[in-house]
Symmetry: C2
Subunit: 591 residues, 2 copies
């Protein structure tokens, strides 16, 4: 069975040495000192390591089953979900008014990383609920909030998001699910939704579906869409459960991975629903929490690769195969461990340097969201710009890293026994859902880049520039961190300039390079994150604080990223600057 | 169910316009004119499209089962295998002395691509047999050849390769399977082998296992290894089947993909075997056919991505989602097809331009093998150098392309229904078996680069140089093909130079860059292949021969590769030139 070690020390370093959480001036953050967050992270890590991780393979092998309309989750899931609820983990960053603990979103992200790493499919039941909670919290009436939120905070009731229909995925304007208004103010919802994660299961008393549907009188396309609350069991005045609503599971999808999560076809057959937010403004209501939702999937992308890396590293230390080219390192054994081989190192360093950078970027993003939620508009601009990068880049790369980790096992990685295949299969979905990565690239280049007159991307460049200036005299870091960051930023600016100069005349010239731009941006952002971590690590070393071994490892890992990953920006720029023509040269028939 | 269209026109272009097969001067090749090869390819394509492809999903879903020691293949496999045998497809490039048709290896590769694309797991039964056939053909006694080869050529008996043991994968020196000599000249083989593809099944009368084992008196490590023929049923003097040998299937591995192939744990319990080739020279005997075997896996790597691409392209034309940014292209429909979106184009062009280049490189390599088999030592040098590139680069990229194809389907790519997941899961093994790709990189940099004083790599550079010189005055192609090829070749030479200057002092400086070098080499090789195809296509256009639409599509696809894929060489060079330090900076405990 795969191992999992909760990376709490690394998280503490990010929270306190880099982000300086308790000094951030945000309300309540002054209480989040090292000791407090350590206690929270340790407890979450223990749950992840001891309860959730052992069920990961079980979930993959058993999957979910549908019998007589009832979805059964894998053995052990229900008991583990109870432990998660009882520990208050589902309520961590929720509103105290509805039973939440009121911690920042960042703490939800930090603990969430461990839950995802330990068992991604399992954690989705809670993750989807949190998304539905956020939408109701932001758009619900007082009555709706009082009715649903306390039970969703505790995960006694779980939630889902119902967007996709067979013919309408990215293009939600085409959806056909109908909402007919009733005299009592409710609606009758009829239609079929597919790919509904955690659509139904046996771990909660009720499931609160948020459903996009078209009510009469809305316009064509996305303008006519409204969002509805459709509970599996109707809720009585006193809050107790009433009749079963006319919503049922058509089938459970057979998927490449995340077998432990029930991905359902949901059939609504005049099911009773209530409008959430304004009529015909369903898209806005559904996507209010888009930054959080997409950051959450970016987190999944790298988090599932964390145990993949940990297992690969452990295997590389244990597995004896071949001899070091520079001379035997394990003379008493029949062979040297894999880790003596430079190409195994290359693979492990690619993984380690990406994953630690990805964690930093995600935590940074979560912290920006906390600032934005507290009214910081510049933070809101930064995180809106970076959200598609976090989602697209981290999931693409997270998948690649899981593949690299699997490769370390050789043939043993291809058989299911060691669990490495599962990490790859699970990671794959993160590139697809919550907006396929091509859509993230489109959002980045087609919308975010030019938003508010381009001021957010200019602010990002300015942030890098002033960071580099502040640290230019840091001799220990200049050549290894500051200069490569400047070079990457220069490539990113050149790409943005290319889009500005060519995209107006021909939008395809920008969109043909959108995917490369997302990756170019991602590398630059990770370069900035690594440079920030390096500054923090060097400062701690200079001050004689912290664990020197840990800090030196951090610096060496960062140097690897700057040396061996960041040069990728040049290739992305070259691809972008080749423009639209090579991409659009063929007619549809020529493919 | 996924579609598959045999790409025979593209193959004909390579065979006749580029490689000019019938003018190559090799024995028997003058008969291989356009009409003849078209008839062969069309017939193979028909078998692939109509018989093998429809069984691909069946094989994935049913897998192989082991009941009471008997392996059952998926429904329809046996009948399809009979059709393959009856059509003479297993005998195509085999020696006529043993019932083969005596066609060049290249024709086996061309037809093989289609069989792999249609059903990779199925085709492995024949592929492994061909490998065992080749080893016996090269090293067997006359008696062994007469006994085994005719039945293996016809696939009445199939073959396997037994190398791996639980603790010995790449490092075969550690294997423990024992061979005890008997008075009658045979050996008793005892031990366990794992990951044995096509290890047992119900589609042939007998299975001929080639088994690496240690006989007494050999040295330590790989020097003490011999190769043995161990038939499942002993063969009597008259060629009929006798007693069951003491070899049995321990279990069938649960794998990520290629479920239709029975990957077995094989137990040898004093099984009777016969030495193949010289005592204690088993490694040499097993690896005589290494170039063919590895090229065959490189072929699998891209071939499995061919139908993935075809389905993605068809889906992109069919699936309506969103509107073109430059104006509606399907005004009468509810949305435009996916293919209007530049980022979908980017993905499809990445796939198409890689796959056609990969086919060219593989066919070129097979042609070199035919030349080498005819005694051409320079061709032998070239193909030995390129073999790890073909295996490593084409399988890495083939997998990436299958992932890209899957992505075009969005959520529909993640569910098993459309078969896109299977392409990805099947492709994944090609990066691992027949020498994991890290081992290919080691072979390339640690052995092939310096082989014979580096003369083969120098010859490769010279080949590019003279090609560029010959075509430098070709104005239609110079900027788009010749100049980018020169730039890539310059990067490749700089990398080789870096290894020469630094690898002597510190082998890790070369090996840390070995994987990047393999990819840098692969891109350069594909750049050369595309330039050769462009020259051929332009010549045909200039001469007014052939289908102008096809030829212009070829040129546009090639331009894409040169513009958007080849710049990757710069990043690989930068990674290589960063040397060993970043890669080796951490101790084993720091991971």
């Amino acid at each position: 069975m795969p191992i999992y070690n909760a990376p709490t020390r690394d998280m503490q370093f990010i929270l306190h040495d880099v982000l300086k959480l308790s000094e951030s001036g945000l309300a309540g953050h002054d209480e989040l000192d090292r000791e407090f967050t350590e206690a929270v992270l340790d407890a979450a890590g223990k749950l992840a390591e001891e309860v959730l991780a052992p069920l990961n393979t079980v979930g993959d092998q058993q999957g979910c089953t549908l019998e007589n309309g009832v979805v059964r989750t894998p053995d052990g899931f229900h008991a583990a979900f109870d432990q998660m609820k009882e520990g208050g983990w589902t309520a961590l960053d929720c509103d105290p008014e509805y039973g939440g603990q009121g911690m920042p979103y960042l703490m939800g992200v930090a603990t969430g990383e461990m839950f995802v790493s330990a068992n991604m499919a399992f954690n989705m039941y809670q993750g989807l609920t949190h998304g539905a909670y956020s939408a109701i919290h932001a758009h619900g009436t007082d009555d709706q909030k009082t009715t649903y939120l306390p039970k969703m905070v505790s995960c006694e009731w779980t939630g889902t998001m119902n967007l996709t229909e067979p013919h309408a995925g990215t293009d939600l304007g085409m959806l056909r699910t109908k909402a007919e208004p009733q005299d009592d103010g409710s609606y009758l919802i009829t239609g079929q939704k597919i790919f509904i994660s955690a659509g139904d299961h046996d771990m909660s008393e009720n499931v609160i579906h948020l459903v996009l549907a078209k009510a009469p009188g809305g316009g064509e396309g996305t303008k006519g869409i409204s969002l509805f609350i459709v509970p599996k069991f109707l809720v009585k005045e006193d809050g107790s459960l009433g009749d079963r609503n006319a919503v049922s599971v058509g089938s459970i999808e057979e998927k490449m991975g995340i077998h432990g999560n029930s991905t359902c076809v949901m059939n609504y057959d005049s099911a009773q629903g209530w409008l959430l937010g304004d009529l015909h403004k369903g898209m806005r209501a559904m996507f209010t929490m888009m930054n959080e939702a997409r950051l959450g999937v970016g987190l999944q992308g790298y988090a599932v690769a964390v145990p993949a890396y940990q297992n690969a590293a452990a295997y590389a230390v244990d597995r004896l195969q071949g001899r070091a080219v520079t001379g035997t390192e394990n003379p008493s054994g029949p062979a040297d461990p894999l880790i003596v081989h430079p190409d195994i190192r290359r693979s492990l360093m690619d993984q380690k340097s990406f994953l630690e950078g990805a964690r930093m970027l995600t935590f940074w993003g979560a912290h920006e969201i906390d600032k934005a939620n507290a009214g910081d508009e510049e933070a809101e601009g930064r995180i809106s710009l970076l959200t598609p990068v976090i989602k697209g880049f981290l999931t693409d790369k997270g998948f690649d890293m899981a593949v690299l980790a699997q490769q370390v096992y050789g043939g043993h990685g291809y058989i299911e026994e060691h669990g490495m295949s599962q990490f790859v299969r699970d990671a794959r979905i993160t590139m697809i859902y919550e907006g396929a990565n091509g859509v993230q690239a489109l959002d980045l280049v087609g919308r975010k880049l030019a938003a508010d007159g381009g001021k957010h991307v200019m602010a990002f460049f300015e942030m890098i520039k002033s960071f580099c200036k502040e640290n230019s005299s840091n001799e220990a870091l200049s050549a290894d961190f500051i200069e490569p960051l400047k070079a990457a930023s220069k490539d990113l600016q050149a790409a943005a300039m290319f889009f500005m100069q060519n995209g107006m005349k021909n939008p395809n010239a920008a969109l043909a390079g959108s995917y490369d731009f997302m990756h170019l941006f991602g590398h630059t952002a990770l370069g900035l994150m690594w440079a920030q971590m390096a500054v923090a690590a060097q400062a701690a070393l200079d001050a004689g604080q912290g664990d020197a071994g840990f800090l030196n490892t951090k610096l060496a890992t960062g140097r690897y990223y700057m040396k061996r990953q960041l040069p990728m920006t040049a290739t992305h720029l070259a691809r972008i600057e080749s423009g639209a023509h090579p991409v659009m040269a063929l007619s549809a028939e020529q493919f």
